[in-house]
């Protein structure tokens, strides 16, 4: 630590977009060698703030001071030359290029490819993040992709490293490796600005925290002295409701999956390999795993978007494997996919029209090929009212809703069709804490009414909170499910890492 001059001083930074002030007079400072957390819900203005620090967005007002000198980056090139590097949440790797090319694109003056490859190897091994510079990024796992981003930053000797939600796609073991790397960097004097929703991580890693809400700084604290719940309530500005549920005995098997193999429809997707699973009535079964290990494919195979052998999926006595999605809906198997815009909802169609798209069969919204618009509108309004979807009305296009509100609509639309089996993928992805709690409560209530609920998610805390049993996907294979009660983080990590023989049915 070098004296008392802050490395980066942020003074009254303000940025407004049409209709919304993303950052309103934000001020704080980062000391050399400090790990500083930036906390806030979705839409609190964290991304806008770091984009201003990295030169991607120009502030309307306010000043930055770097090491005592004025700093006004006009582009990421300028930021990198000053010594600020950034690891993005997404959008900064190129699938079809190899690791060395991806690294070169993030550097100001990359050495020739051969020398660069050697430096990538050296640096990545020095920090315990082994990488093969010749591999295509599209073939890498999420954890390895992040290594590429981090190594890209490390090669430039940054003084300040900005990390935007770096752990959202990592297994617990990968998170440990990342933290070890970050602590090593910190001991070398690099300051880190760390953005995350995961409060326990922040408590174990960060020295200081600044909390943003609706673009304003609403608090500063030492996260090591606060509980995760206190931090969450500072972020949300109110006390949080924890989903509640009652323990009850397992019902009969509602859905039985045996030997389900399905080829992925997308190029970098993962095919399902011999998946087996029984889901009981009245239970919530959580499926974890790092993104891209077959989650989308599992949802599509269950919803009927990908066909399979008829006997691979059996509901009661009915083989479903070869049925189309609408036949499955008629029987009571409904699904809500992860991608809200374009998969779960048609972006340019109104909420009423989107309600018809999946609700047609079970809510009898059509007769003789004609849509009953009155009933469709009533159904859409019902979803909006019951799930607190913030929109002026059901005639508005799906894309006009914020992510969290559309997510509530998409999940609510399926729940209100009273499914016997509901499959959801990432039900609370990108949804703020209070909306996430209400979606989770709705899923628990559905299970309490006797439905079988399968929740596929990358948020382990969520799965631990609501599921009765837990299984993990790894490279298209599903581990045998285990009771959530008493499962340790290490065991979960092993399951996510592909340990299949971990004493099934504990």
């Amino acid at each position: 630590m070098t004296g008392t001059i802050p490395l980066l001083k942020i003074d009254g930074l303000t940025k407004a977009y049409p209709g919304v002030v993303a950052n309103d007079d934000v001020s704080f400072q980062i000391m050399p060698g400090e790990v500083h957390a930036l906390l806030g819900e979705n839409g609190a203005g964290k991304s806008t703030l770091v984009k201003m620090l990295y030169g991607l967005v120009k502030p309307d007002a306010g000043a930055l001071t770097y090491n005592g000198a004025a700093y006004a980056p006009t582009s990421p090139h300028a930021a990198r030359e000053t010594g600020i590097a950034m690891v993005f949440q997404h959008f900064s790797l190129f699938d079809a290029l190899d690791v060395a090319e991806n690294v070169a694109l993030g550097m100001e003056n990359p050495p020739p490819q051969r020398e660069l490859a050697k430096r990538i190897k050296d640096v990545s091994e020095a920090y315990g993040l082994p990488l093969d510079p010749g591999r295509l990024v599209g073939d890498l796992s999420a954890g390895e992709r992040q290594r590429v981003e981090i190594v890209r930053c490390l090669l430039q000797d940054p003084k300040l490293l900005i990390m935007d939600e770096p752990t959202s796609v990592l297994t617990p073991q990968e998170v440990e490796i990342l933290f070890a790397t970050l602590r090593k960097l910190q001991s070398e004097g690099t300051a880190i600005l760390y953005i995350s929703h995961k409060l326990e991580e922040i408590r174990s890693l960060c020295d200081a925290a600044t909390i943003l809400r609706l673009g304003k700084v609403v608090g500063r604290c030492d996260p090591r002295e606060k509980s995760a719940r206190e931090l969450a309530e500072m972020m949300v500005g109110m006390s949080l409701h924890t989903p509640s549920r009652e323990a009850k005995p397992k019902g009969p098997v509602a859905l039985s999956i045996k030997g389900l193999s399905a080829k992925s429809a997308s190029q970098f997707g993962t095919s399902l390999k011999d998946v087996a699973l029984d889901v009981h009535e009245g239970e919530v079964l959580g499926i974890g795993g790092v993104a891209g290990n077959g989650q989308d494919e599992l949802l599509m195979a269950l919803s009927g978007e990908i066909g399979s052998a008829p006997d691979a999926i059996v509901m009661g006595d009915t083989p479903l494997g070869a049925m189309r999605p609408n036949e499955r809906r008629a029987l009571g198997l409904l699904a809500a996919p992860e991608e809200r815009l374009g998969h779960a909802a048609a972006p340019n169609m109104s909420l009423t029209e989107n309600a018809v798209l999946t609700g047609r069969v079970r809510k009898s919204l059509t007769s003789n090929g004609f849509i009953n618009w009155g009933a469709a509108r009533t159904f859409a309004e019902d979803v909006i009212g019951r799930f607190d979807v913030r929109t002026p009305g059901p005639t508005h296009a799906a894309r006009s809703l914020s992510g969290g509100n559309l997510q509530k609509f998409v999940v609510g639309r399926e729940i209100l069709q009273s499914p016997k089996i509901l499959i959801v993928n990432q039900p609370t992805w990108g949804v703020d804490a209070s909306a996430a709690a209400s979606i989770r409560q709705a899923l628990l209530d559905l299970a309490a009414e006797g439905a079988a609920v399968v929740v596929i998610s990358q948020d382990l805390d969520e799965l631990m909170e609501i599921s009765d049993r837990f299984a993990a996907l790894n490279e298209g294979r599903l581990t045998p499910p285990r009771d959530t009660q008493g499962l340790t983080v290490d065991e979960i990590g092993l399951m996510m890492g592909g340990a299949h023989d971990l004493g099934a049915v504990a």
Binding site: L56, V57, F91, S92, D95, A96, L97, A104, P110, Q267
Partner: protein, 310 residues
Amino acid sequence: MDLSAINPVLLIASLMVAATPILLAALGELVVEKAGVLNLGVEGMMITGAICGFAIAVETGSPVIGFLAAAIGGALLSMLFGILTQYLMSNQVATGLALTLFGLGISSLLGQDYVGVRPPLTGGLFPDALADLPVVGPIIFGHDWMVYVSLGLVAGIWAFLKYSRAGLILRAVGESHDAAHALGYNVIAVRLAAIAFGGACAGLGGAYLSLIRVPQWTEGMTAGAGWIALAIVVFAGWRPWRVLIGAYLFGGVTVLQLNLQAAGVAVSAEYLSMSPYLITILVLVLISAGRGRAALGAPASLGRSFHASH
């Protein structure tokens, strides 16, 4: 039927001439598509280049100045496409089709006074002594200098894309414009430069038709060459050397079937006329069969509009 009238040496020499316009246009389009832009206006830019090059070469008496003018004409027309699609966010497919129609129209207008005029002769690159050698003379040394320019361009574009930093940035922009923007690269500037280069190459290809291959000006003389160039880029998997194979294959089959028709082969002329299209596509599909999309090199952002929203 007299197949002995077909001289293989002359066949190879003339296939190179027949293929060069398509090769030039396809190389330009390859660079454009590698930057993530789908410009369907190749045909329009080619024919605009054909008349610009022809008119300027006739007026100045210099084919070199003519080819330069053709490149500038094609690039200017492509900038219309560039401004519409990159700044005004118009749809690339519709704009490209419109560009083709516009190019066909404006070239007829510009070319009214040049129908039936003979252009100045374009010279060779090597001395006559070399060009007169048996076999290798006509094939390797006997061509006009544009043939060598086009071959140089194949190697140049290959090396540019594979080894240079600018080429890497261009590929990055075509692969994911959001990521390239986040890293601080100017997506629109890179794309405009690629579009202008593509227009210039298409213009050169058109001028090769009107100044060397035919050589005279007639309305609509490109006759679909631009569309073949577009198809070759896709079937060649966005690789310069495969574009060369595809273009020469197409040129070769075209020349061969003309020779066969002249020799009176007992296959109806319609089948022979369609053979270049079928064979070229078939061969290129076979070359690239059984690979994933990434291995084929299709740019992931191809045809998507970029808008820096944040």
